[in-house]
Subunit: 211 residues, 2 copies
DNA sequence: ACCTGAACACCGTTCAAGT
DNA sequence: ACCTGAACACCGTTCAAGT
């Protein structure tokens, strides 16, 4: 079949399948040929909907990124908005750990990332933070979230292959290890976030100009 | 020349050249063939000194990681040691931004990374922090550092290619942008680090058991 | 408009053959 | 012991050819 009446592919279907592949088997498992096979199609066909593999990766990053909740910045006070954003951001990344590495060093900025950053910046400045501080606060929270997401990723991969596959053929040990990793990841993240928020509270008393 | 009297290659020379290549042209520019060409040798020759490309990447990560200063934990108090470690860690990563992505999600833990983590953990527990807190503090600082290093990386890559190459053929604008990025990166990092340290100070009063 | 086979220039890695 | 050419199974991407 050279051309079906209804297209076999759409950009959305391709991106969703690619994310599924990356989530399940890591970035290295994502090749255009392998992805095409999953979609019952040939590699060349993908290029009718996606201009390049980089474009595809950008699509994945975009799909993940738009799940982050920045709604707090349009309504609530900056403390709650910041906390909600940070936790939502982290939760979303933790759900797609294999995506984090290329999402963060991605080629050029995503529009969606820019719009998220604008929401944060806008919310903070409206709350009375000087623009310069707003920028740095956004940066600080992003560092923490991204670092935590990557840390979790690394942790998940660490001893899994050797300890579990070679020496402990049953799941229970690896499972316990992973559970502990999650606890440490979240504990470390919450520790830093709480400290950051209370540090900001003190700073706000100095430089903030409430409306 | 099939076999010279003195070997043309050593593992160290290969890794140093690879780091140089990655620093200068990014991870994507690192291929075994390209690296071999730089070393005046054929790709297959590299496999006499390096078991795999993954092994090579691990070597690079190791080379970078051992520059991080954790000496404070054996001598000074935990506050100073933590601050020195965090800033040194960040400075080292910032000097090799292209290395950060694969250093952090690297395949399995590096020995050097483990020894660094042990130094931190030991220093903190000797200072009276409960082990559980020591682990989370180490995690929190690592998140912040890694996130900041990646953020800087992303920032450096953002508008450079388009703005600078296409529309501003002279260096000045891009240079200014980069300078500003560095300032924001460092400001955001210091903001979060300071907040974290003072947050820890408060926590230490609760759970710390000074020797 | 959209799918395809074939081709291009690349990969990482192996291995017998050289010295 | 260490470097090499040739080969393997893979890549991303292009493009004329099909409908």
């Amino acid at each position: 079949m050279a051309r079906p009446n209804r297209p076999l592919l759409t950009r959305e279907r391709i991106i969703a399948a690619a994310l599924d592949l990356v989530d399940g088997h890591g970035v290295d498992a994502l090749s255009m040929r392998r992805l095409a096979e999953r979609l019952g199609v040939r590699a060349a066909s993908l290029y009718n909907h996606v201009s390049t593999k980089e474009d595809l990766l950008r699509g994945i990053a975009d799909l993940v990124m738009r799940q982050v909740d920045v709604s707090g910045f349009t309504t609530g006070d900056w403390r709650a908005a910041l906390a909600t954003w940070a936790r939502s951001y982290r939760t979303v990344l933790a759900a797609h750990p294999n995506v984090v590495p290329f999402m963060v060093n991605g080629p050029g900025r995503l529009e969606i990332a820019l719009s998220r950053a604008d929401a944060v910046h806008g919310g903070l400045t409206r709350a009375g933070w000087p623009p310069r501080h707003a920028t740095m606060i956004g940066a600080a929270v992003k560092y923490l979230v991204v670092g935590a997401a990557l840390g979790s990723f690394a942790g998940g991969f660490s001893d899994d292959a050797q300890v579990y596959a070679d020496r402990y053929p049953n799941l229970s040990q690896a499972h316990l290890l992973r559970e502990r990793q999650v606890e440490i990841d979240e504990g470390g993240f919450e520790l830093a976030l709480t400290a950051l928020l209370s540090g900001l509270e003190a700073l706000y008393a100095e430089v903030g100009r409430p409306a």
